[in-house]
Every structure is written in structure tokens, then in C-alpha cells.
Symmetry: C2
Subunit: 501 residues, 2 copies
């Protein structure tokens, strides 16, 4: 092996270990950390971030990458090394543009903004958060200017989450989603049809919910010898290493579907993290392409598999067995209908498959316009209310259920939200292709055999790491570039049938 | 504040954070880590160790300490700063003596020796472990030579765990323990008396054992907002920070006392870790004096409080309430007698208050003689068997229950074992002094009011951090230097009465 490349791999392994450690420390913060440990924990995490940042932008790293540029691009080092060098050069070039003082300022502001957001949300008092959001937007604008961009300043931030994606591409996608989803939701509401959820509102003991969720995750192929399921206020999945993938969920005793779909969603993420090629562990060849591709995996399992009749053909008898004496009178029609209920609601994380993208649309528009100075922070509550009325026919009664509901902005995560909708689009394209490649897929799913689908995803997507960019990957796998059309057709077809609209 | 000292404090804080992170990563390894994550975890921990070692022996640290030496010693920086500079200079000087290659060699050997030990113990096959133990002893001998010593090579290693303690001081202590404990144990065995443990061998559900253990820990004053209790194969307590103290225990359904005393023991450690002065967090002024002093806190709560009649006067009604329908017929005489049973046994971690020190004596003698070359690794199984016969009248039927039972040597921890017995001696001296200072202590304990004792320990010991060396602390608090006499008197009195010997 090229000795310079070998040296790079050694440095990469250390960065990977530090990243895994930081991931574990964050996981603990959300799961088991005693309440009084919060302040120390923030400092521990800040120290790890700064160790990682320093090592990433070190002169040694710069020299290694410069030396490896030509041999990597010529193909002399092999295809995988070329990917690793390309991706590291991209990250190095971006992070190198940020002065240490700005990185520290952002870290300090994030801590304080986050605390202000918690208080503001509790009190439903936007003015408490406003100065911190203004400062956060200003800092993100500085970051965007330092990163640089061709067309739209917001593009510079999207790049951190969905490399290569731009406002110019997102605008028409979201416009189409808007023009076709708003009428679909309105028609559904007008139809007046509602599933019967009576059986699903009984008391389902939490220990049994957990056992059932793990049974389904195991059937999907999640390896509990290389991962865990715990409880946290906000569900997440953190792939510390390919052999240590930690997901969380939360439970409501009178809603067994909430934890089930939470677990299926996080297991979708988890299968991606467990599906990287371990030979490439710690390098971009064993990392996710983008947040959008990551989300495609979670949404595919949660919605396209988990809300299908085929899935419940397999799952219903198990569900009844998991909750003896509770759900014995549930039938396949009722459950399939109930898990596909569409109801406009104020809170994004509780939204159904159809209305979800309108919540994202709203956030995309606001972020784009904030970054471009077309909207001011002080305008947000009003615009939020008006757009919610226009898209979903609802106005939030307070800011806690409106502009203050998400944690993302307090963390300075601008450019992250669009990846949720991209995940839906990519996921649908992948799933339709898998269905064509695997003609008996629905029968297999109905028998609880998820292996063909999982292995298809592993081969086509998981094991590829960052070999391809998101758009290229979607086109290679599905034969078509990412688009909203197929996804909207699927939604109109599925929910048109269910609701007779 | 002196700017150089301020700089030192900043560096110390970073070292503290790295230590806390490493502690958390180790805690997770023993509690929640998925099995397949082991290999990655070893690399993560090795990286953290090396980051800590590098920072500790950095040139910058050396220069800061050299600059601060005179102002600290003159008292110009204040008493606390003097302690911090003194202790860091001591650690720096020692660690600086170890070449990086040796540190890495030790780390690699530890990993492999530990794996070999696990296999050897499972198979009860000493020869499997022998070459690794030989290498470990050889490396520890190198370390001792590099550290340097005045009289006995073993002193150089003891210094890591019990600074200032020497073989010359330990020899007479252990000789006295041996000469008075061996006959005491023999007399107890001859007496033929045994407590009735029938009620305590029923099935005690583990969830209720945990709840009861936490109730007792809370009564002792352990703050569960600043700490946790989890389950692991080997109980331990890890004070990550003063606000994040994690203890573990293990449960046996038919032995509720095993988990209870495990929890009281670890809570004793935990109260020490939670009792440091938070203003000094991250500096030696908020660290334990020595492992012996740490163990004095755990043994004091476990044995001197927890096995007393006063404690059970308070605890018995709660115990019955915690296990309704199980322990209703237990009375105060029976429980007090049962928790003080003395039985020679092969396994150190299961040994009672009396026989425990003979297990430590054996290990002390073997370590001392191994380091001095008076005993060879290949002699260990035979000597082990002969000494167990001489001290406790038992011969291990295999090496798993003999020389292979402890994990310590596989980790290269030579010099650690004596601190267990020192903890018993110190703990007894502290407890007798507390009893004199707090005349109503037993009455308070009998009412479940542990506050006076806890606050006494906090003021005299916990909040002092490393202000005094162990011997100095014992003498300041108790008016007498550490000795075995008082402890042996206590044992002969207490167990003489119980067993009529």
C-alpha cells in the first residue's frame, strides 16, 4: 500500500475513534446521564469537537491530502482510496475555511441558544429565543460566506447535510410537492373518513411494546449483538461504529404504534449503519452518502414496508401474541387503515406520511428566506401561522406548537430540514426499484422474510459508503434522477384509494 | 490569580474531561456495550490513554510545573494550589520516566494478557496464562526500575495506588494480621456455630432487590441526581465527575444480601466521589488520597455500618416491606447473625470480613516475592495452594478457584491488592473516631439517620481531596498513625462474642 495513504488511514482511524467516542458521550447524555451532569457533559463534548476539528484541519492532514491528490485522481491507488481522498479533501477544504474563533463562538452560542430555546418553548415565549436565533442566523450566514457558494447563500449550508444539493434544485421539487399535496390533504379532510382506532387506544404495557418492537427490528435484520435499543425523549439512531449502532425510541402506553414506527424508522437507519463494509470502517467508504440517503432508509422501512398490508399480514398475529388479552379483536383491515390515517396537525414529528412534507416545505422556505435576508427572525411567528393555515388549514394557538417546536435551529442546523423530504423521495424511488428487481417481495414481506429487501439495500446502497454522491447513487440504482413525481404519484394513488378522493 | 497557575488549571480541566470521558467509555463497556463492539472499544480506550499520557508529560506541562514549583512551595499561591502543584509534579515526574514505547508495549500486552486470562480461567488452565503473566511481571519490573525506589522494588509499584506506602511498613502490618487472624478463623471453624440462613435463601425478585438497595443508598446520602446504579458482571464505582458517579452491582435471586452489601460498598465509594469540593473539580484537591482511603469508605459503610445491629434495627422493617410475603418472619437476631457469618472460602470477592484479609495477605506476599525474584511465575499455583491451606485450611481444587481467580494481574495491576486491607484498617480507625465524636451515632443509625456520620466523613475526609497523604490524613483525623492493632481488636471482640471463641 502507498505509505502516504497508509498514514492517512492511521489518522482517519484516530478521527473515527474520536467520533465514535463523541457519539457515545452524546448517546449517554440522552439516555442514562444523571441530571446534574449536564454542565460537565457540555464541556466534555466541546473538548472532543475541538480535538476532532484540530486533527481534521491539521497541517499534517493538509500535506497528506495534497500528496495523495494526484495518485488518487489518476486511479493509481484504487477506486476506494480515490473516494476516501476525494471526500476528505472536500471536508478538509470546507472546515479549513472556518477560523477557530468562529468555531468556538458557534459552539458557545449553540449551548446558550439551546438553553434559551428550552425555556422559550416551555413558556411558549418566542421573544425569549429571538435574540439567540438572530445571533445563530448571523453566525450561519458568516459560515456560509466563508464556505462560499455559486448561486444561493443557503446552498453553502445544505452542502453539510446533502452534498451537491442546491436551492435551484430544491425549489421546483418543493413547488411540485406543494401544488399536489395541499389539494390532496384538503380532499382527505373533506372526505370526512376516519379509521377506527378504538382497539389501538387501549393500554399496551411498555415492556411488551419494547419486546414487540425488538422482535420486528430483529426480523428486519437489525443485529442486537452489534447494537442496542434504549429510551430517550427524542428518538434517534447513532452509528458509533459498524458494530455498535444505538437506537432509541419513546413509549406511550395508549399508543403502541408510536413506539413501533419509531423503532422501525430507527432500525432503517440502523441497518444502514450496520451495513457498511467493515473493511472500510472509519473511512468515507463506510459512511453515509448524505442525510437524505440516510433518511431514505428509515422512511422506506417505516412507511413503505411498515404501513403496507403485506407487512401487517405478517405482523398482526405477532402483535396479538405480544399483547395477549389486549388486541385479540384487531383485524387486518382495521390495522392497515389505522396506520395510514392522514390528519393535518401542528407538530412535525407527529405528522403522517402525507402532511409531513408540508411541514418540511414550510421550514425550507423560511430557512432559504432567512439566509437571503428576505425574511427577518421577528417575522417568523406570523409567517409560520399564515403558511400553516395555507398548507394545512391550521393555525398554531401558541409559538410552542408553532415556530418553537423544533430543536434544530437552536443547534444552528440550517440546511438539515430539506433532507427529510429528500429521504421520502429517494426512499420511494429505491423501493419501487427493489419491487421490480424482487418480484416476490410483497409475498416475502407478508411471510416476515425481509432478507431479500435488506440484502438488496445492503448491496446497492449500504455497502457502497460514499462511493457515489446522492444524485448519482439514486440514478445508478433506480435508473432515474431524484424527482418528486414518482413519490407524489404513489401518495395520490395510495391515499386516493384509502380515502376515496 | 497567578496566570501560570491559571494556565495549569486550564490544562488540568482538559485532562479531567479526558479522564471523565475515558471513565464513561469504560463504564459503558461493562454495562451496555453490545458484545461485538469489544475490539473497537479497546482501540478507543487506548487512544484516550495515549492522549492523556501525552498531555500529562508534555513539555508545556513540565514548564508550567517548573515555573510554579517555587511559588507553590513558598505558600504564595495558597494551600490548595500548593497541593495541586505538588501532586501534579509527583505524577509528572513518575510518568515522564516511562518511554512511550514501554507504555504502548504495556497497553498491548494488557489487552492480550487479559484475553489469555479469560480463556485460562474458563479452562482452569494456568499454563495458558503463564507466558503472559511472566511478560507482565517482567514489564512491571521494568516500570519499577524506571520509577526508582529506595528499599524494595515492589515499593515503586505500590506508589501508584497508595502513595508513600512501603513494603517495610506493610510487612509488620500483614504479619500481625496473619498471627491473629489465622487462629481466630480456626477457632470460629472449630466452634461449629452457623447462622440460620433459610429465610435469606428464598427467592427475592431482582427488581425489588434493586429498589431496596437504592432506598438504602439514598438513605446513606448517595445522590441519584448526580449518579446511577446499573448492573455489571463485576461491581465497581466510577466517579466520572463529582456530579456523575456511576456504581454497579450484580444480583442473585436467592441471595438478597449479596446485592445489598455490594450496593452499600459501592455507595461508600460513591459518597467519597460525590463529596469532593466542586470548586476544586478536576484537580488533585478533588481527588481521592489513595485507593486505601477510597476502600476505607466502602468498607466502613459495608461492614462497620451495614453489618451492625443498629443498621438492621432501621433496615429490617424496610427489608420486610420491600419483599412483601417473602421475609415477614425474619427477626433482628437472625439477620444480624446471618450477615456476620464467617466461613473460610476459596474466592476473595465472596470472603467475609474476617477471612478477607488473609486472601489479601496471600496476594501481597506473592507480588512482593515475584517482584523481588524470590518466587517464579511457575511456582504460583503450588504456593497458592499451600498458603490457602495454611491460612484458611482449604486447597483450591483447580486454578480457576485459585491463582486464576482475580483479573488484576492480567491488567498489570501489581501493588493494588494491599490497598484492600489498608482500607479495612483505615476504615475502622475512622469509624471508631466518628463514634467518639458523635456519641449518639448508633442511635441515629438505628433510626436511619446517616447524616451525622456522612457529614463527618465529608468534612474530615471527602472534601479534603489530596490535601494530606494517607498516613497524615489518618493521623490528623484519628490522632493515631495507621496500624492493624485497633482493627484486630475490633474483629476479635465482635466475632469472639458472636462465635463464643
Amino acid at each position: 500500500m502507498n505509505p502516504t495513504y497508509e498514514k492517512l488511514l492511521t489518522r482517519l482511524k484516530e478521527l473515527h475513534h474520536l467520533g465514535s467516542i463523541s457519539g457515545l458521550v452524546s448517546w449517554d447524555q440522552e439516555t442514562y446521564m444523571p441530571p446534574k451532569a449536564g454542565a460537565d457533559r457540555a464541556e466534555q463534548l466541546a473538548l472532543l469537537s475541538s480535538l476532532i476539528h484540530q486533527r481534521l484541519i491539521s497541517d499534517e492532514m493538509g500535506e497528506l491530502l495534497e500528496t495523495l491528490r494526484a495518485p488518487a485522481e489518476s486511479g493509481e491507488l484504487g477506486a476506494e482510496a480515490a473516494v476516501n481522498v476525494r471526500e476528505l479533501r472536500r471536508t478538509y477544504a470546507r472546515k479549513k475555511k472556518l477560523p477557530t474563533e468562529l468555531v468556538e463562538e458557534i459552539s458557545r452560542t449553540r449551548s446558550l441558544a439551546q438553553q434559551a430555546w428550552v425555556k422559550a418553548r416551555q413558556a411558549s415565549d418566542f421573544p425569549l429565543f429571538k435574540p439567540w436565533l438572530e445571533k445563530t442566523v448571523e453566525l450561519q450566514r458568516q459560515v456560509a460566506v466563508l464556505y462560499g457558494y455559486k448561486q444561493d447563500i443557503y446552498d453553502a449550508l445544505i452542502e453539510d447535510y446533502e452534498p451537491g444539493m442546491t436551492v435551484a434544485e430544491l425549489d421546483p421539487i418543493f413547488a411540485e410537492i406543494r401544488s399536489r399535496t395541499v389539494p390532496l390533504v384538503a380532499a382527505i379532510v373533506r372526505s370526512g373518513r376516519r379509521p377506527d382506532r378504538a382497539i389501538l387506544s387501549r393500554r399496551y404495557p411498555i415492556e411488551q411494546q419494547k419486546a414487540f418492537g425488538m422482535e420486528i427490528a430483529r426480523a428486519m435484520g437489525f443485529d442486537f449483538e452489534a447494537g442496542r435499543l434504549d429510551t430517550s425523549a427524542h428518538p434517534f439512531c447513532s452509528g458509533l461504529t459498524v458494530r455498535d449502532v444505538r437506537m432509541t425510541t419513546r413509549y406511550r402506553e395508549t399508543d403502541p404504534l408510536s413506539s413501533l414506527y419509531g423503532i422501525m424508522h430507527e432500525s432503517g437507519h440502523g441497518l444502514y449503519d450496520q451495513g457498511f463494509d467493515p473493511r472500510h470502517a472509519g473511512t468515507p467508504m463506510a459512511e453515509a452518502v448524505s442525510l437524505g440517503i440516510h433518511e431514505s432508509q428509515s422512511r422506506l422501512w417505516e412507511n413503505l414496508v411498515g404501513r403496507s398490508r403485506a407487512f401487517w399480514t405478517f405482523a398482526l398475529p405477532r402483535f396479538k401474541a405480544a399483547f395477549p388479552g389486549i388486541a385479540g379483536d384487531l383485524d387486518l383491515d382495521t390495522i392497515t387503515w389505522a396506520v395510514n390515517e392522514v390528519t393535518p396537525s401542528l407538530i412535525r414529528v407527529e405528522a403522517d406520511e402525507v402532511t409531513y412534507n408540508l411541514h418540511i416545505l414550510l421550514r425550507f422556505e423560511l430557512e432559504r428566506d432567512l439566509l437571503n435576508g428576505r425574511v427577518q427572525v421577528s417575522d417568523l411567528p406570523g409567517i409560520w401561522s399564515d403558511r400553516m393555515a395555507a398548507y394545512l388549514g391550521l393555525r398554531p394557538p401558541d409559538d410552542a406548537r408553532g415556530v418553537l417546536q423544533d430543536i434544530h435551529w437552536s443547534f444552528g442546523l440550517f440546511g438539515y430540514f430539506p433532507t427529510y423530504t429528500l429521504g421520502n423521495l429517494y426512499g420511494d424511488q429505491f423501493f419501487e426499484t427493489a419491487r421490480r428487481d424482487l418480484p416476490d417481495m410483497d409475498d416475502r414481506v407478508a411471510r416476515g422474510d425481509f432478507q431479500p429487501l435488506r440484502e438488496w439495500l445492503r448491496e446497492k446502497i449500504h455497502s457502497q459508503g460514499m462511493r457515489y454522491k446522492a444524485k448519482e447513487l439514486v440514478e445508478r440504482v433506480t435508473g432515474k434522477p431524484p424527482a418528486s413525481d414518482a413519490f407524489l404519484n404513489y401518495m395520490e394513488r395510495k391515499f386516493g384509494e384509502l380515502y376515496g378522493v
